[in-house]
């Protein structure tokens, strides 16, 4: 198992996108691709080849779960953990997202200083299960 390097972040809000980018690049030292919509993420997938995808749940157009459903139809994403980011959720909603195939759910507001460690841990868990 190699280290987590390439992270794709799909989020419609530009400010959150920027905060997350700095957190992941500067604090986490990852290579980051920020996308403003599910479609943009799908389009950039082949070229960027992420190790992990951070996906906002509530987005205009294609929302998080819809984007995830699309991702899961693509063979190249089979081994890529997808992590949802959403506002405070009920345990039942977390269970529902995981049933849809999410590796984990990170609640907003998130702490950008700990976000890199959080997703590293998720990534390790995901691959530990293989």
């Amino acid at each position: 198992m190699s280290e987590l390097e390439r992270v794709m972040h799909i989020e419609d809000d530009p400010s959150i996108r920027e905060v997350a980018r700095i957190a992941l690049e500067v604090v986490g030292g990852f290579i980051v691709k920020s996308c403003s919509s599910g479609q943009e993420g799908l389009d950039a997938l082949k070229q960027f080849t992420p190790d992990l995808i951070l996906l906002d749940v509530m987005m205009p157009g294609m929302d998080g779960p819809q984007t995830l459903a699309h991702l899961r139809t693509l063979p190249e994403t089979d081994n890529i953990p997808v992590v949802f980011m959403t506002a405070k959720v009920q345990p039942s909603e977390v269970a529902e997202y995981q049933r849809l195939g999410a590796a984990m759910v990170i609640t907003k507001p998130f702490d950008p200083m700990t976000l890199p460690d959080q997703i590293r841990a998720i990534w390790r868990d995901w691959h530990g299960q293989d």
Binding site: D13, S15, I16, E18, V19, A20, I22, A23, V26, V27, M58, A87, K88, Q90, P91, S92, K108, P109, F110, D111, P112, M113
Partner: protein, 537 residues
């Protein structure tokens, strides 16, 4: 007035009562009636006279309800023979009017119809008032033997019977009219209601739909088994989807004797949008307490529901809109404070801490607002599972130690009933404890200790948080668990808090079957407690 005045019959003693009684019969100036006409014809035949009359004497005249052998339908009272006859209890006979000084000058004697013979028997009302007579008249002098008198008495009695029957019939018709009017009034009343009214009989068969009920159900009363009412009239539970089971039907519940209050159901008659209604009702009993049926009155609350939904959507959307910028504000601040852009000057760090604290506070407020709305609208889903309470309490204390130390307050646990199980949502119990513990930290004197204790009381496990603060005036206790009630708003600004915490605690605890409360006297700190029912398998 005329020359016969001195010869008119004197008034009866109870003349006013007599006249009133006569008026009560409502017979004067009414059209001829066959039964009375038959009676006069029989009388003339029986007593072999040319004329027989049913004569009624009012203030100024005698009026003939029936007249056989006479054209006039009334004559003045002064010339009336009957006015004399009603002064007597029994048959009054004038064999030859020409020889009787009371009548010799009477124009009915001296002129047409040239009365010679008169015999009249008073017609008496049950109250004794003599209303008039049954009389026979002839233009030749005659006498009346005792058999004739008997006949006359019988004929008068028959006339009395006829009058009584007529009166009864009138009263019956009057009652009928009253009933019909009352019924029309009731229908009009029910029809004018904006509420729907539905009534069934003791067997559960529908007997009444008012106009509104008919409109809402898109149908009139159909004769059917009460069990199929819900399906036939498209009735659903308050969610608008689940078909209403028979035992939940407000009308049938009312028929079971239940006093139904505020039952919310949905009527989705074909072609109409679902209508949410609040139903009130109860059994109908007669004066002996015997069940006659049941009534339900329904009030349309669709508009209220629509507004509630708008409010909920608004809150959901505004909280999302608030959280999104908060996420980036908090994120940016945390990045700066975490040194993501390098070392910061000390004053810049201090200001960023202030910004961070307030961003946190704002997001707590948004969470609290959403929670209270969900609790009040019944949309908060609790995930109850049987579990030990003490570990939840311990974890809550541990996670609040840091916060309490910011106020120089220690937290200590005094645990009893360590193996008590409760049916609870662990996340929500933590939220409850967070509220109590953060209050205890905020309101205790610096350097003090807040104690948490658990104990078993009456099948409930009580968790109490004792602070060592200034205490709370008992008069203010009832306010504390209400929304947005911080006793001293300047305190809340200084110490944080949204004013929703305790209201949320109360609702959460109650949803888990428990209670909340506090004990406090000014100067002696406060004890906030909640209890949950002990769980047993």
């Amino acid at each position: 007035m005329n020359r016969f005045c001195d010869q008119t019959a004197p008034d009866a003693v109870d003349e006013n009562l007599r006249l009133q009684t006569l008026r009560d019969y409502q017979i004067l100036d009414t059209p001829p009636e066959r039964s009375f006409d038959d009676l006069t014809a029989l009388g003339a035949e029986l007593l072999k006279t040319s004329t027989a009359l049913v004569s009624l004497v009012d203030e100024h005249r005698q009026w003939f309800k029936s007249r056989f052998g006479l054209d006039a339908f009334e004559t003045a009272r002064e010339v009336s023979f009957c006015a004399h006859a009603i002064q007597h209890e029994d048959v009054f006979v004038v064999p030859d009017a020409r020889l009787d000084e009371r009548f010799a000058g009477n124009p009915l004697v001296t002129d047409d119809p040239f009365i010679r013979f008169y015999a009249g028997m008073p017609i008496t009302a049950p109250n004794g008032a003599r209303l008039g007579t049954f009389c026979v008249i002839d233009s030749i002098p005659r006498s009346l033997d005792s058999a004739g008198k008997d006949s006359l008495r019988r004929l008068a009695r028959l006339a009395e019977e006829l009058l009584a029957l007529r009166m009864e019939g009138m009263a019956g018709r009057f009652r009928q009219q009253q009933l019909e009017r009352q019924q029309a009034m009731n229908e009009c009343l029910l029809g004018s209601l904006v509420e729907a009214v539905v009534v069934c009989d003791a067997e559960g068969k529908l007997t009444l739909f008012n106009d509104t009920a008919r409109e809402w159900h898109g149908a009139d009363i159909r004769d059917m088994d009460p069990a199929s009412l819900a399906a036939q009239y498209d009735l659903f539970e308050a969610d608008g989807i689940t078909p209403l089971p028979m035992q939940s039907l407000p009308l049938l519940r009312a028929l079971q004797g239940e006093s139904v209050r505020g039952a919310e159901i949905c009527i989705a008659a074909g072609g109409q949008p679902p209508r949410f209604v609040l139903a009130n009702g109860g059994p109908l009993r007669d004066s002996e307490g015997q069940l006659m049926g049941a009534v339900v009155v329904m009030h349309d609350i669709s508009e209220r529901k629509r507004i509630e939904l708008m409010k909920r959507n608004f809150l959901a959307s505004i909280s999302h809109e608030l959280r999104t910028p908060l996420t980036s504000i908090s994120g940016a601040i945390n990045l700066l404070l975490g040194g993501a852009s390098g070392e910061l000057p000390e004053t810049a760090s201090k200001m960023l801490v202030i910004a961070q604290t307030n961003a946190t506070r704002l997001s707590l407020l948004v969470n609290d607002l959403l929670d209270i709305e969900k609790l009040e609208s019944g949309h908060m889903r609790l995930h109850l599972s049987p579990q030990l309470l003490l570990p939840l309490v311990r974890t809550a204390i541990e996670s609040n130690l840091g916060y309490a130390s910011d106020f120089s307050v220690k937290l200590e646990l005094q645990a009893n009933a360590v193996d008590a199980m409760v049916l609870a949502d662990g996340v929500r119990v933590a939220q409850i404890m967070d509220n109590y513990l953060s209050n205890a930290a905020k309101f205790s004197h610096p350097g003090g200790t807040a104690y948490v204790s658990t104990e078993l009381l009456d099948g409930h496990i009580h968790v109490s948080v004792h602070d060592t603060g200034a205490g709370i005036d008992p008069a203010d206790h009832p306010l504390l668990f209400q929304k947005f009630s911080q006793l001293d708003t300047s305190l809340s600004r200084k110490r944080g808090g949204t004013g929703l915490g305790l209201a949320i605690v109360k609702q959460l605890v109650e949803r888990m079957g428990g209670n909340v409360g506090l004990r406090s006297e000014p100067g002696e700190g406060a004890v906030f407690w909640f209890s949950l029912p002990l769980y047993s398998e």
